[in-house]
């Protein structure tokens, strides 16, 4: 099975490898203290898992069903379970490795820069460092595979992966993540305002005036960074597991 997967997807691997080397070359030559550049690189890094989902995940099963080559692959002496297992395992592994490599590169590049480090809990910086990008990458490819297996066509699968991935990421980042742990509230003098926050804290709502001289701050303290990374990773791993189970049902139980 591994040989078949290698023969079918080595082109994609080469493209991905070349892209990684290009990214490395670009980061090495870029000045590290440019705020605009950091933003651009941030955006790029945020879409990496999505690209993996679109170009590795969506076509994996859908392309075979669209071309009818599943009729070839599924009638060799390999059970469909093993066929899917090997395909999923290699795709997930490749996505995780690639997500990790990009994250490591970008984190290394930006760590010396204060901006990432200081607000690492807030949306944006949180999403491109630590371990969550690996979970996003795995989730994105598995979403692509599941949607492809359901739709049996590559293009609708890609479109749905795009929309689905964006929707789920936004919903979790905006609505769920602030409540991973109960936020800390603190009343400070109005003059101090947000300056009273510990460095790197994630302010959840606008400061509320309490009386005329004081103000209420609701925030997540910065030392919760790794706890939040762990919880967010767990959420996406659970989602990925559900999608893998769904894919198994779609591929093994349904008629070819």
């Amino acid at each position: 099975m591994t040989y078949l997967i290698w023969r079918l997807h080595r082109g994609q691997l080469l493209v991905a490898g070349a892209a990684l080397i290009a990214l490395m070359a670009v980061l090495l030559t870029l000045p590290r203290r440019d705020g605009h550049l950091i933003e651009v690189i941030d955006y790029l890094t945020v879409v990496v898992p999505l690209l993996l989902g679109l170009f590795w995940g969506s076509p994996l099963v859908a392309k075979e069903l669209e071309d009818g080559t599943n009729g070839l692959a599924w009638t060799q002496c390999v059970t469909r379970r093993r066929w899917l297992g090997c395909n999923l395992a290699w795709t997930i592994l490749a996505a995780a490795a690639w997500g990790a490599a990009v994250t490591a590169l970008v984190t290394w590049w930006s760590l010396s820069e204060v901006s990432l480090h200081l607000s690492r809990l807030s949306q944006g910086p949180f999403d491109i460092q630590g371990i969550v990008p690996v979970a996003y990458s795995v989730f994105a490819v598995v979403l692509g595979v599941a949607v492809g297996a359901a739709f049996r066509r590559v293009l609708p699968a890609m479109a749905t992966t795009l929309a689905g991935y964006a929707a789920i990421r936004i919903v979790i980042a905006v609505l769920v993540r602030p409540h991973f742990m109960s936020p800390v509230s603190k009343v400070v003098s109005a003059a101090q305002g947000t300056n009273a926050l510990p460095t790197g804290a994630w302010l959840l709502s606008n400061p509320e005036p309490v009386g005329s001289t004081r103000t209420l701050l609701t925030y997540q303290p910065p030392d919760r960074f790794w706890a939040f990374q762990g919880i967010e990773t767990g959420v996406f791993v659970v989602l990925a597991v559900v999608l893998v189970a769904l894919t198994y049902r779609l591929v093994i139980k349904r008629d070819a």
Partner: protein, 300 residues
């Protein structure tokens, strides 16, 4: 000598939503024979073959292939070679790459035999199969299924897209493979004409149902064309099944099925060709389906 059938189905049916793609299909194929699976487009040929190779789970009835229920186990898949409709191959891989992949995916794999076969046909094995002609691709597909050394070969319209020359070459390859290996084959086509020369057994599907299943010789022997003066159909001798009636002002022509000789001397009995039989049954199937619809309409 009693041999267990290569394929035996009983009341096999497959439903997609509310449509029956295949219904009440009971066929038996003995090992060592080449069976033509014919029927108009949409008659359920592909569905039947998919059920036989385990790609489809039947909605009704049972199928037994080589003595077991088709499933996704390696042991079953090793014994059955299946070439899907339109000969799907990985377009960007070469024939040689397909052969190497096959070696990894199969328990038994005769790559050298396949290479010899392709070399004899002068089919380039180093180019992506997308650059080959339809005939060459079909030959690559056939070589791949034969490399598994299966006991049973299921081919789904392998010649649909081929020109007459390529068809003939494909059939020759198939015939010599069958002669060499002694395997059982089921080939589907909507044209009986393609298969008449290589097949000795026939399954005719029409309107999702089995209309005929038998050896060509038997089918030819038990079908007759009766020609005589015009008359009604209520005075026919027992044992006759009328398949097709053609009435003119003076004459009645009947295509009938009867296992023994026709006794009524007032008929001129002619032999009929296979194509006539098949066409008559296809019309018969459609008519039966229509009359069912009429009955349903009447009941309402």
């Amino acid at each position: 000598m009693t041999t267990s059938p290569a394929i035996h189905t009983t009341g096999l049916g497959k439903r997609y939503g509310s449509n029956w793609a295949l219904q009440d299909c009971s066929v038996t194929v003995l090992p060592g024979h080449v069976t033509a699976l014919v029927g108009p487009n949409g008659a359920g040929k592909t569905t039947l073959l998919k059920c036989l190779v385990g790609l489809c789970a039947p909605s009704a009835g049972t199928a037994e292939v080589l003595g077991r229920v088709p499933d996704q186990s390696p042991e079953f898949l090793a014994a059955v070679g299946y070439l899907a409709q339109d000969v799907p191959l990985y377009k960007r891989l070469s024939a040689e790459a397909h052969l190497r992949v096959g070696a990894h995916l199969n328990l038994e794999w005769d790559a050298d035999g396949a290479r010899r076969r392709l070399a004899a046909l002068r089919i380039p094995t180093d180019r992506p199969v997308a650059t080959l002609s339809g005939g060459q691709r079909a030959q690559v597909g056939l070589s791949l299924v034969l490399a598994k050394r299966p006991q049973l070969l299921l081919l789904d319209e392998p010649m649909a897209a081929l020109d007459p020359l390529a068809r003939r070459e494909f059939l020759e390859s198939l015939t010599s493979a069958v002669a060499d290996e002694g395997l059982s084959v089921v080939v589907s086509s909507h044209l009986l004409h393609d298969l008449e020369r290589v097949c000795d057994h026939l399954i005719l599907l029409s309107a999702s149902r089995t209309q005929l299943c038998g050896f060509l010789d038997d089918l030819l022997a038990e079908h007759h064309m009766l020609v005589g003066p015009r008359r009604g159909l209520n005075e026919l001798e027992p044992g006759l099944t009328v398949i097709k009636v053609t009435q003119t002002a003076k004459q009645t022509r009947l295509l009938v099925q009867k296992s023994g000789p026709v006794l009524d001397p007032s008929w001129d009995v002619d032999e009929v060709g296979l194509e006539d039989i098949v066409l008559a049954y296809m019309e018969h199937g459609d008519a039966a389906a229509e009359s069912q619809l009429v009955e349903l309409g009447g009941a309402r």
